[in-house]
């Protein structure tokens, strides 16, 4: 390891201990580390967006003369200035059209992706689980596959039903979910509870992996320190 690596390793160790000091309760060391982290993160976000997007896509074509008289490039510069006006309360109204453009394009991108990428494919997938020819080809236990497919279809439907918020309002009452609708929502809740459990287990596994990674780094550091 070079000298810079040693200094970096010691710095990383100190920062890690500063973060773990949170186990003793919120304290100044932890807050200091977090504020350093916020500043460093903001710097990398600024640098990443500048060197990867703003400079090569907006500034450099302008400076090189390639897009100097291109009205579309000029419009991009104008939009950028308008967006910066959002920094100050007095001028923030000036950036509203640019925000409108961003929101409109973002919404359209989200709709297009959701329709083509998720809705059609996931609905088709739930139905294709009952394709007998395909089941026979890739699963010898046909009945097990059919039971699983039925469970998946039912689970998908009741989970979707759980998010259904329209309820029938009886005259003179507040309106509530009763009877078969309540049963379906309960089953949907069950499927969601299992899915949330899986996500929780995944989050914990990822956190354990991060902890193991940190401890492995310390092991490497102390091994090199005492057995160079």
């Amino acid at each position: 390891m070079t000298q810079a690596d040693w200094i970096g390793a010691i710095l990383g160790l100190c920062l890690t201990l500063g973060v773990f000091s949170y186990l003793l309760g919120d304290n100044r060391v932890f807050r200091l580390v977090i504020h350093i982290f916020i500043g460093v993160t903001a710097a990398y976000v600024l640098a990443g967006s500048w060197y990867s997007v703003i400079f090569p896509q907006l500034v450099q074509p302008f400076l090189s003369g390639q897009d100097f008289w291109n009205p579309l490039a000029l419009a991009g510069i104008v939009f950028t200035v308008m967006l910066f006006s959002k920094l100050f309360p007095r001028t923030s109204w000036f950036g509203v059209p640019v925000m409108g453009l961003l929101v409109g394009v973002g919404a359209a991108t989200a709709i297009g992706g959701a329709v083509i990428g998720t809705v059609f494919s996931q609905v088709a997938a739930s139905i294709r689980l009952f394709d007998f020819l395909k089941i026979n080809t890739w699963n010898a236990q046909v009945w097990v596959a059919l039971v699983d497919a039925s469970l998946i279809l039912v689970g998908t439907l009741v989970t979707l039903f759980y998010f259904q918020f329209y309820i029938r309002k009886q005259p003179g009452s507040q309106g509530s979910v009763t009877g078969w609708m309540k049963t379906l929502r309960l089953v949907g809740q069950g499927f969601i509870a299992v899915t949330l459990g899986a996500i929780f287990a995944g989050v914990y596994s990822a956190a354990v992996a991060a902890l193991v990674g940190r401890l492995a780094t310390f092991k490497e550091f102390f091994t090199l320190l005492f057995h160079p």
């Binding site: 810079a4 925000m99 359209a108 969601i192 940190r214």
Partner: protein, 209 residues
């Protein structure tokens, strides 16, 4: 003037959005609109990066005010601004490909973020136990049971043949979790479409002040 500006914002949002949306379903090059769509997407991409700068500028402004007015936590704001400035200087001087830029990322950014996530491993279990102390209902029990089976079934134990936990784990992931996740994904997609359509017809204008 502001009313006119707001109207322009709505017109921009709707027209740009509809053009981008049409490109997902139709071949716009037949009408010569494909290049217009590309330009709009390029503008949005650049503006999204500029928005990050606006966000960072706001961060600087907030912390500067806190520091200058000597509010509670003003000292920490000084630390934030100093570390931001120092890191920026390092990146600009050594270049984004430079060794120093990478060094700060390797020895400050990664250790702190990884440690914060590692802390979660300790805090999550503790927090779950605190939640269990309240009255457990069937759905919380189902949630925790799923967590326990998935964690215990992470592998066959100590070199033994695939344990029952592992097989149960695989089935849980393949069937009920897939079903629930598929329902949630469809719900999110339908909600996205509903909200997006409301924005594109001008019924919702989150960009307005």
């Amino acid at each position: 003037m502001k009313q006119v500006w707001r109207t322009i914002a709505v017109i921009l949002a709707i027209s740009a959005g509809i053009l981008v949306l049409l490109g997902y379903f139709f071949d716009l090059s037949a009408w010569g609109l494909d290049s217009v769509r590309q330009v709009i997407l390029r503008w949005a991409l650049i503006l999204a990066a500029v928005a990050l700068w606006v966000g960072a500028g706001n961060l600087v402004r907030v912390h500067w005010r806190k520091m200058v007015s000597r509010q509670d936590g003003g000292g920490y704001s000084l630390v934030t601004l100093a570390s931001l400035a120092l890191t920026l200087v390092v990146i600009v001087v050594s270049g984004p490909n430079g060794k120093m830029s990478q060094w700060v990322f390797n020895h400050v950014q990664i250790p702190v973020e990884t440690s914060l996530l590692a802390l979660l491993a300790i805090v999550l279990i503790y927090a779950s136990i605190r939640v269990m102390r309240r009255r457990l209902n069937p759905f919380a029990i189902a949630l925790f049971l799923t967590v326990i089976i998935l964690l215990l079934g992470a592998t066959n134990w100590m070199g033994m043949e695939a344990s029952k936990f592992s097989m149960l784990r695989e089935w849980i992931l393949a069937v009920p979790v897939t079903a629930g996740a598929r329902g949630v994904l469809l719900g999110i997609a339908l909600g996205t479409i509903a909200t997006g359509v409301r924005i594109l017809v001008g019924f919702e204008r989150p960009y307005e002040e």
